[in-house]
């Protein structure tokens, strides 16, 4: 337990996790429509505000787990209730708490039936997502990781688009099937270590075969969640059919769990397997970047376009993780945050058009620029950010990842460059169509520009686009110590291994 900084005072992490759940329980009793909306907004806002002390109280000079809590849970199997947060998870936790109020705002008008049930699903999602990022016990992690499928399934299946049944079942089965072997790997690790406490499983002398098997089980679960090419097919379906808030949660937070899993589990628990298999994963990432780019270029459905662009963006994240140097890792984590901000905002934008035209077709939305100036301004900034225009947030992330890749492997980096160009191509295509359109434009004069609620919803996203884009240092400082410590251990492990051989 020496890598935990136990939080003796108020159990802030538990409070943040269980507050949304408690809020959801209240709505089981009181389920008036407008009460549900205001109540959920209030709960998520309180969670967001209460999570701010996590940043101010965070000590960026240590790689230990902070704000930690440790309680026995099921002693018979050495399962504990352990929470803790380090430089890798702190930004993801903040991303989650800060994005949820805007998901509620985005659903204000969009969701008209079964409002209370929808809001309950959102709050339960928040509980399990926060829990996944701070759980330090593998069983706790797995429970939250799996439990999340139920509210997400319901979000898509009840409030989704026309093909919601197909999309939701595919999402559920895909992710569940992927994590089945994860469970077996967790049990196998427990039998080697005698505990489910995650930090105790790291940097242990497992045989290489064992490591490879465990790594592959992890990889299947996390690669489906990311999703990495060729495990991505559930993503476009789920994104297209999900309601706006569902798409935002899916893109901004759920996808990050896969890459978070790689960072938290694969690298420290199975280092030998990581070194052995990283080259393959790097090329899979490149395949994802290129494939996502080309597919996005061909889409006419705006949500699908952004969904495929996610496959490409997440390819950059896995690329950054598995080049295994500090620029790469820091770039990857930055890119996780950036993708959360930018893609979340883009899905909100698409949702706003959909509420007006009831279509996500690019042709139907063509040429709204003339009548919706606020809207296209936002859209332009987020599109620029999406293809990593200098000065926006994604530029920092992609630049760091590419710099890290060039250091390790030049051909690999060269192969990733077309992906960046493709991103510019498909985003500019989207932007150009929506702002100016073509001669065959439908008449858009009846469309109203954004109202105050919508402007407020998008403003913070824009703030973060430029904040991270122009002053990324505070964000990088938060994670730096943890990343460096992870890499130090990884490299000394490698040298030890060589010395043994």
């Amino acid at each position: 337990m020496d890598n935990l900084i136990i939080n003796e005072g108020f159990p802030l992490l538990s409070f943040l996790i269980f507050l949304p759940l408690a809020g959801a329980l209240v709505m089981l009793v009181f389920h008036g429509e407008s009460f549900a909306r205001f109540w959920t907004l209030a709960v998520t806002t309180v969670v967001a505000l209460c999570s701010l002390p996590l940043v101010s109280g965070f000590d960026p000079t240590t790689a230990k787990y902070q704000f930690a809590e440790f309680h026995q849970w099921i002693p018979r199997f050495h399962i504990n209730y352990v929470l803790g947060m380090d430089g890798i998870s702190v930004l993801l936790v903040m991303l989650t708490t800060l994005i949820m109020p805007f998901c509620v705002l985005a659903s204000w008008k969009y969701i008209q039936k079964r409002v209370a049930a929808f809001m309950i699903c959102l709050l339960i999602m928040e509980t399990s997502m926060l829990g996944v990022f701070v759980a330090l016990d593998f069983v706790l992690f797995y429970i939250l990781w799996e439990f999340m499928l139920i509210p997400m399934y319901l979000l898509i299946a009840i409030w989704g688009g026309p093909r919601k049944v197909y999309a939701s079942i595919k999402f559920f089965l895909y992710t569940l099937a992927g994590s089945i072997l994860l469970l077996v790997a967790i049990i196998a690790l427990y039998l080697k270590n005698g505990s489910f406490y995650i930090p105790d499983m790291m940097w242990q002398q497992y045989s290489t075969t064992f490591q490879i098997l465990v790594f592959l089980a992890f990889f299947l679960a996390f690669a489906i969640k990311v999703p990495m090419f060729p495990f991505h097919t559930w993503l476009p379906a789920a994104h297209v059919e999900a309601p706006t808030a569902g798409s935002v949660i899916l893109a901004s937070i759920l996808l990050k769990m896969g890459t978070y899993g790689f960072l938290r589990f694969c690298l420290p628990i199975t280092p030998d397997a990581t070194f052995a298999l990283a080259p393959y994963i790097l090329w899979l990432s490149i395949a994802g970047i290129i494939y996502g780019g080309f597919t996005a270029l061909a889409q006419n459905d705006m949500k699908k376009l952004i969904a495929y662009s996610s496959v490409g963006h997440m390819g950059f994240v896995t690329l950054g993780i598995f080049v295994l140097n500090s620029q790469g890792l820091e770039g990857a984590i930055m890119q996780m945050i950036n993708h959360g901000v930018t893609t979340g905002a883009l899905f909100l934008c698409v949702g706003m058009i959909y509420e007006r035209t009831h279509s996500r077709e690019l042709d139907v939305a063509a040429g709204v620029g003339k009548y919706m100036p606020w809207y296209v301004t936002y859209l332009a900034f987020f599109s620029l950010s999406s293809f990593a225009f200098p000065g926006t947030n994604s530029f920092i992330g992609e630049f760091l990842v590419l710099a890290g890749t060039f250091k390790e492997n030049v051909p690999l980096a060269l192969a990733a460059i077309p992906g960046a160009v493709l991103a510019a191509a498909y985003m500019l295509r989207l932007l150009q169509r929506v702002v100016w359109g073509r001669a065959t434009n439908p008449d858009q004069s009846h469309l109203k520009d954004l109202n105050l609620r919508e402007i407020v919803t998008l403003a913070p996203f824009l703030l973060f686009v430029f904040w991270i884009g122009l002053g990324p240092q505070p964000f990088i400082d938060m994670m730096h110590t943890s990343v460096v410590s992870l890499l130090d251990q990884l490299h000394s492990w490698q040298q030890q291994g060589m010395a043994l051989r």
Binding site: I74, P75, R76, Y142, V165, A177, I180, V184, I187
Partner: protein
């Protein structure tokens, strides 16, 4: 005083015997009496949970193990009586008889879990089985299809065959050891010649495999589930399995340690049950049949706890069957409420249940997700602990690893059919299907079951500790 739960149920059965002699009876009184006896037996079991005694020349043991199982049986009986109290598809004339046999069956099961001698085991088992055989054909024959008759005949034929296997095995046990007391058999069996002793144990097990619906003794399940009235199936699918697991654990403790034949056999049966149950359930359209096949798969999971041949594994098997009974009761509660005249439900009859009765839809969803093994419900915790136990029992033996991987894959297969029922209930349009009425008592019981499913799943430590203590009393 130690056998108060049994005596309560016996008095209940006798009361219904007396009632059945009268011609005209208020339907309300009959069902309230039944529920009343159920609740009293539950209270009696609750009070007597810490009793200890040895009765009838030591052939009947009252200990924590038996009392816990009695508590579960009384609980299952009470819940089944409450949600089944309308008995929509049972003729009013035969209702007193129906309750008579239902209570007798519960009595037999309560006696069974306390029996530690072969003859006593046999008598108790037959008491509970024959009462059940009679319950099945009591469904009214409105449709002229006589499916309940077919089911009843099938049930009795398969049942008698299974009993034959068991008696055959018991005769071997007696022949090899010269005693009918389990405790003495346990001491004498290691000296008995192999493989006769092993064969005897497996044969005795076969009788209980029938009750638990383990492959290849599962053939009765789909037809009986479908042919019996919903309320009857709700009982058959849950409570008798408690007795079967209780006795399977007792019999397994007789098995010679260190011998792999029995373990491999159990592994084989476990995997066959899982694959057969899950793959068949995928294509079912009748909800009860689907739950029947899913029950076969769950029986396979319970064998994972037995084949560890370790007290820890038995305790987890106890935990799992308790959870299984609760999850299944939740599902049957919904089925009985949705079925208007006691007819069988196809999956599509649940369309739009979320709009027709949100509480029932929630209970059904929790029950099915729990059966599917999604956290944080009891089904997940049980499966997780069974897999952990099986993998740790194997040590370096990779066969156990494969067993666990295949069992895990089965969880993934199973999710599809559970999910498709939830999907129908939550996303499909109700079309012209009417609103489902549900009274306060059913609602309350359903919510209690949901809370139990969540609490058992999220906080299993205490329950496992009690199960551990219970298993220690029989070792």
């Amino acid at each position: 005083m130690a056998i108060v739960p049994e005596i309560t149920v016996l008095i209940g059965a006798a009361a219904f015997f007396a009632l059945s002699l009268f011609k005209r009876l208020e339907a309300n009184q009959v069902k309230n009496t039944a529920v009343g006896f159920g609740v009293i037996s539950l209270l009696a079991a609750l009070i007597g949970v810490n009793d200890q005694a040895s009765l009838f020349f030591d052939s009947y043991r009252i200990d924590l193990y038996s009392q816990l199982f009695k508590l579960l049986i009384a609980f299952g009986l009470t819940v089944a009586l409450i949600f089944g109290r309308e008995l929509k598809d049972i003729d009013e004339e035969v209702r007193p008889e129906y309750y008579l046999f239902l209570l007798l069956s519960a009595l037999g099961l309560m006696m069974l879990v306390s029996s530690v001698e072969l003859i006593t085991i046999f008598v108790s088992l037959e008491l509970s089985s024959f009462a059940l055989y009679l319950l099945v054909p009591m469904r009214s024959d409105a449709r002229g299809m006589r499916i309940q008759m077919e089911a009843g005949i099938k049930y009795i034929l398969f049942g008698v065959m299974a009993t034959g296997f068991m008696l055959f095995g018991m005769s071997y046990l007696f022949g090899l050891t010269g005693t009918t007391y389990l405790q003495e058999i346990l001491a004498a069996l290691p000296q008995a010649p192999q493989p006769a002793a092993l064969f005897a144990v497996i044969m005795v097990m076969a009788g209980f495999f029938f009750k638990l619906a383990v492959f290849p003794m599962h053939f009765w399940v789909p037809d009986i589930y479908q042919g019996a009235a919903n309320e009857t199936t709700g009982f058959i699918a849950t409570v008798p399995k408690l007795g079967a697991v209780a006795l399977l654990i007792r019999i397994t403790t007789l098995a010679p340690g260190g011998d792999m034949t029995l373990i491999y056999l159990l592994m084989f049966l476990a995997l066959c049950s899982m694959f057969y149950g899950n793959l068949s359930a995928l294509v079912q359209t009748d909800v009860k049949r689907m739950l029947g096949f899913s029950g076969i798969a769950h029986a396979g999971f319970i064998l994972l706890g037995l084949l560890t041949l370790d007290p820890g594994g038995y305790a987890i098997a106890m935990y799992y069957i308790a959870g299984y009974v609760i999850m299944n009761l939740a599902c049957f509660l919904v089925l009985c409420a949705v079925s208007r005249e006691g007819e069988n439900l196809a999956i599509e009859d649940l369309k739009g249940l979320h709009q027709r009765q949100p509480v029932l839809a929630l209970i059904l969803a929790v029950g099915l997700f729990a059966l599917a093994g999604i956290p944080p419900f009891v089904g997940f915790m049980g499966k997780f602990m069974l897999l952990t136990g099986a993998l740790s029992a194997g040590g370096e033996n990779t066969i156990y690893l494969w067993l666990v991987i295949l069992a895990a894959i089965n969880t993934a297969i199973a999710i599809y059919y559970y999910l498709s029922v939830v999907r129908v209930a939550y996303t499909a349009d109700p079309e012209d299907r009417p609103v489902v009425a549900v009274d306060g008592l059913n609602k309350a019981v359903g919510i209690i079951l949901v809370v139990l499913i969540i609490i058992m799943g999220a906080m299993p430590a205490k329950i496992i500790a009690v199960a551990d203590a219970a298993v220690k009393t029989i070792m």
